[in-house]
Symmetry: C2
Subunit: 258 residues, 2 copies
């Protein structure tokens, strides 16, 4: 049993929880909780590391067996150590480290008949988590993210996505604008959502393509908007100047797939 | 200038921030931040009390004048006192107490041609805030809430609603089930959203009515579902077993008004 916070395994795990930079360097991310750890395993992610408390092992013995059997390494840790790792109030006692980018899950090729979401500079982890969860529920074929979006592998996004981060094909592109230009050149319909000078989405006949959603405060950049095939908007009646970014993304994806 | 945390005005304001019970007894609620306080004033709510810091008064002088001119009472408070009242990390220095239930804004009568949302036992303040914000943006005519929903006047809901709580006609009914039965008896279409034994919402021709949305974990109660005119569902493709309650509410309201 690991009981020291100075243990290298614990120090590394804690760093993965806290630091986006460290997640990028190590190419690993973390998940905490019985449901989300099982979700990762059932989605084909074998834990690089599985940490658990004695009480969790007893309480969730089936889940313990399931996760343990596919983990590269597994250690019992004391409750005190677990609380240090956890970013929740009442930790359940299961914690996994997964390797980033299981290549099978990655979005390599845009299918012309497929329906995708493109996210530019989404900053709020809870918005990103909700967008991924909704994308999965509605049946989006993949998500393209700009490099300046918040970290999709942060604990908040992993939890908020309800495990969709394990399953929705996604790609992060530092050259987001060039990537979108390339799609347009390949004849793929790219829709830019913006309240100004745009078609009402209920009047557009969608047959696949990419729906772009911009930053919470500023929307899509002009550079991106000018490359789109069409600008679209959600018709609004009330005074609230805009919907929350996740809600807007949900309605836009829904209309594309409806 | 108020500098003591033992000042009765401050003690009462702090209690209104923290205690839903006290908000109910006092029939008052609070809002914090420049934008949300102005929003309340512009929506016809005259503050019962306006508290501000010297630096905020200087920095936001136009907003200060606007709020001050309609406030029943106003006091400068020290930064230390303000931080005690605030539930945000970097408070802007404006705080208002408003009276609950400006009768003009209240939902008194259901119009047969109107479109409404009915919320049963929604527990998460951020979901409730998002639902109200979305309801306003889409043009919902009013929201009926069951008595066991979380407090619509909590600081989190007020902030998350982006001020929609000031403007969307709403009513809280302790006798929610009887209320819904009454609407059905009056010939109003009442739709219960549930994943089981339900019509696909894209196949339903809506012309007004009430869309009922249930608790985050358990959905609508059987008692409510059995009184509905029709059970409806959002068709889902992906593995995420359900959408977030606020997202589901958004898509359902959107389809009714589309």
């Amino acid at each position: 049993m690991i009981t020291s916070k100075d243990n290298e395994i614990i120090k590394n795990a804690a760093k993965l929880v806290k630091s986006s930079k460290h997640r990028k360097t190590a190419m690993q991310f973390t998940a905490e909780g019985v449901r989300i750890c099982c979700d990762g395993v059932r989605s084909g992610y074998n834990p690089y590391l599985f940490l658990y408390t004695a009480s969790a092992r007893e309480k969730y013995s089936d889940a313990y067996d399931e996760i343990k059997s596919v983990s590269e390494s597994a250690y019992e840790v004391s409750e005190t150590i677990f609380e240090r790792l956890s970013d929740t109030k009442s930790p359940q006692g299961f914690f996994c480290v997964f390797n980033i980018l299981d290549k099978k899950k990655n979005l390599y090729r845009i299918n012309k008949q497929g329906t995708y979401a493109g996210l530019e500079n989404i900053q709020d982890p809870s918005n990103l988590g909700t967008i991924l969860r909704t994308a999965e529920a509605l049946g989006i074929d993949g998500v393209i993210m700009s490099g300046n979006c918040c970290d999709v592998y942060s604990p908040k996004v992993v939890r908020g996505s309800m495990g969709a981060v394990f399953r929705v094909p996604l790609v992060i592109r530092e050259d987001f604008c060039d990537c979108i230009k390339g799609l347009v050149n390949d004849g793929i319909s790219v829709y830019g959502s913006t309240p100004r000078d745009a078609e009402d989405i209920t009047k557009v006949q969608f047959s696949g393509g990419v729906m772009l959603i911009g930053n919470e405060g500023n929307g899509l950049t002009e550079e991106i908007l000018s490359t789109c095939t069409m600008r679209v908007k959600i018709p609004m009646k009330g005074r609230a100047e805009s919907l929350n970014a996740a809600m807007a993304a949900g309605l836009l994806m829904w209309e594309m797939l409806r």
